[in-house]
């Protein structure tokens, strides 16, 4: 299983207005479950686009399994890293939902029963199994996003990157995305997701990385990134800890980043007699 390394990565977009990435050093091991958070424009999308070779560092290196990404072929990368864009429109093009999902794995050389199985599984994972013949453009925007997710899932890449997967999803859609991430993690795949939803981040991921102006300012499990000592750093980039984290701190219960951890802490609290 591959690991990812960023070694002093700087990225300056062609017009040179901004250093979108300003010297990133980061290692993500195989099978990790990582959330990437930070303000709009802090470099999250730019960073993940370096992980599948869509963008190349201006200086520095990106390594997949210790080998420089620049030396991987497009086909090798496509087999290893699946990236689901924030906006499904930049991804969808086929005439039917099924054809859309088949495209990626077919390009990886899959066919016959294996292809059928991969596509069925991906469609079922996002709840689109009965929409195989539907034109993708007849789906609402939230289901188009789930379709874009399915097309990347079907490629069965060991690394799965999701750019704001819950945006525009209703309660059920968010549960679907959470399920997909959980299943991918259980299967040993590396999952990296960008999100602005702190509750979703705290309750879904093992590791949270916080970006500010092209740099990494916090990196750790939700219990430390949302703990009181980290609030100043979070707020320096206009992020707020979750409601549960704030309530837990006010009650003197320590770090309780999620509803569940807060309720556990309340339950274990010694009762005044």
């Amino acid at each position: 299983m591959p690991s990812l390394t960023l070694d002093s990565v700087v990225h300056v977009y062609s017009r040179g207005e901004v250093r979108a990435l300003d010297g990133i050093d980061l290692q993500i091991g195989a099978g990790e479950l990582v959330a990437l958070i930070g303000q709009n424009g802090s470099g999250k999308t730019t960073l993940v686009r370096h992980l599948n070779g869509l963008l190349r560092p201006t200086t520095g290196r990106v390594l997949l399994d210790g080998a420089d990404l620049a030396r991987h072929t497009v086909a090798q990368l496509a087999r290893s890293v699946g990236l689901v864009f924030q906006d499904p429109a930049s991804q969808i093009f086929a005439g039917s939902v099924r054809a859309e999902v088949e495209f990626g794995p077919r390009n990886l050389g899959m066919g016959g029963a294996g292809l059928r199985e991969a596509v069925d599984e991906a469609l079922a994972a996002v709840g689109l199994e009965s929409e195989g013949r539907t034109n993708p453009y007849d789906l609402g925007s939230s289901r188009q996003k789930l379709l874009a997710l399915a097309s990347v899932l079907a490629m069965r890449t060991p690394i799965l990157i999701l750019d704001e997967p819950t945006t525009g999803q209703d309660l059920r859609g968010v549960a679907t995305v959470r399920g997909v991430i959980g299943d991918a993690h259980a299967a040993g795949r590396t999952v990296i997701a960008i999100s602005h939803d702190m509750e979703f981040v705290a309750s879904t991921f093992d590791r949270v990385i916080v970006m500010r102006a092209g740099t990494l300012i916090l990196d750790g499990p939700p219990a430390s990134v949302f703990a009181e000592p980290a609030w100043e750093a979070l707020r320096s980039t206009y992020l707020e800890p979750t409601l549960a984290a704030r309530a837990g701190a006010r009650l003197g219960l320590g770090s309780t980043p999620t509803d569940a951890s807060l309720i556990d802490a309340l339950r274990q609290e010694p009762q005044p007699s």
């Binding site: 017009r15 709009n40 924030q86 429109a89 309660l171 059920r172 968010v174 702190m198 409601l243």
Partner: protein, 271 residues
């Protein structure tokens, strides 16, 4: 004031209507929240309320839509555009595509209203300040992040100062700080008398700024009432809508069989 009276709307070729007998009133100075599962009719409602459907997207409509007492059907689109501003979930559909800088993009609307130069400048700068995008003024709108584009698109809308605003998931791509800025800007506009209709999945935001909330289910208004009541309604989950964090946290604490004392302490710190 905008009034919908038993409005039913069906897209061209659709097997069933996307809105069914929807009646609602958007009063002056009010923020009305619209929630519902995906494909419950939220975006369609925005298109219908702003006069874009059926006018530009086709389909058939029955019932009446009144803008300050006047049927919107016969009003020319430019007259409507000056009075009802609309923002879409995806900023890409919103940006003019002709502006080379963020400043020009935001000034585009007021310029089209034919306002005097000084007023265009004043409105543009004020809109930029209210959403804190001044630092982006000289940047190319096409080269911003998705969230920055969304803020710029909303700033452009604010600069037109329409008396009615229709916003379809305006904060979808925004970070928490951007979401708060938009919420504050909308609350200020409503205080100044604007009527605002907003669809959102972020019920925390709606709880903060709405006076009333309507929940749609398959094109019908399934729940409707004071924001506090609708957002606290346990039926919201069946409609595919997440409760605000506060409501959800207290509810999970209650169902977790915690000692009453612990629930009380929790409720206290959540106020």
């Amino acid at each position: 004031m905008l009034t919908l009276d038993a409005v039913t709307y069906r897209y061209a070729g659709a097997p069933r209507p996307s809105l069914l007998e929807v009646s609602l009133e958007l009063r002056e100075g009010e923020v009305l929240g619209v929630v519902g599962a995906s494909e419950a009719g939220k975006t369609t409602l925005c298109l219908v309320v702003s006069g874009l459907a059926p006018r530009t997207v086709g389909g058939t409509l029955s019932g009446r839509i009144l803008l300050d007492g006047e049927e919107i059907g016969p009003l020319p689109i430019h007259a409507l555009a000056a009075r009802i501003g609309i923002a879409f979930a995806s900023p890409a559909t919103q940006l003019s595509g002709v502006a080379g800088t963020v400043y020009e993009e935001i000034a585009f609307g007021p310029m089209n209203l034919g306002l005097p130069r000084a007023e265009i400048i004043e409105r543009t700068e004020r809109a930029m300040a209210s959403l804190r995008v001044e630092a982006l003024a000289a940047r190319d709108p096409e080269r911003l992040s998705g969230g920055q584009q969304q803020l710029v698109a909303i700033a452009g809308l604010l600069a037109m100062r329409p008396s009615h605003l229709v916003l379809d998931e305006p904060t979808a791509q925004l970070d928490p700080a951007g979401t708060t800025l938009v919420a504050e800007a909308l609350a200020r506009l409503a205080q100044d008398g604007a009527s605002i209709l907003i669809t959102e999945h972020k019920t925390d935001l709606l709880a903060a700024i709405c006076s009333r909330v309507v929940a749609l289910e398959a094109g019908r208004a399934a729940l409707s009432g004071a924001a506090g009541e609708v957002l606290d309604d346990p039926r919201l989950a069946e409609l595919g809508v997440a409760a605000p964090s506060r409501v959800r946290l207290v509810r999970s604490a209650r169902s977790a069989d915690l000692p009453t004392k612990a629930i009380e302490r929790l409720a206290e710190v959540l106020v």
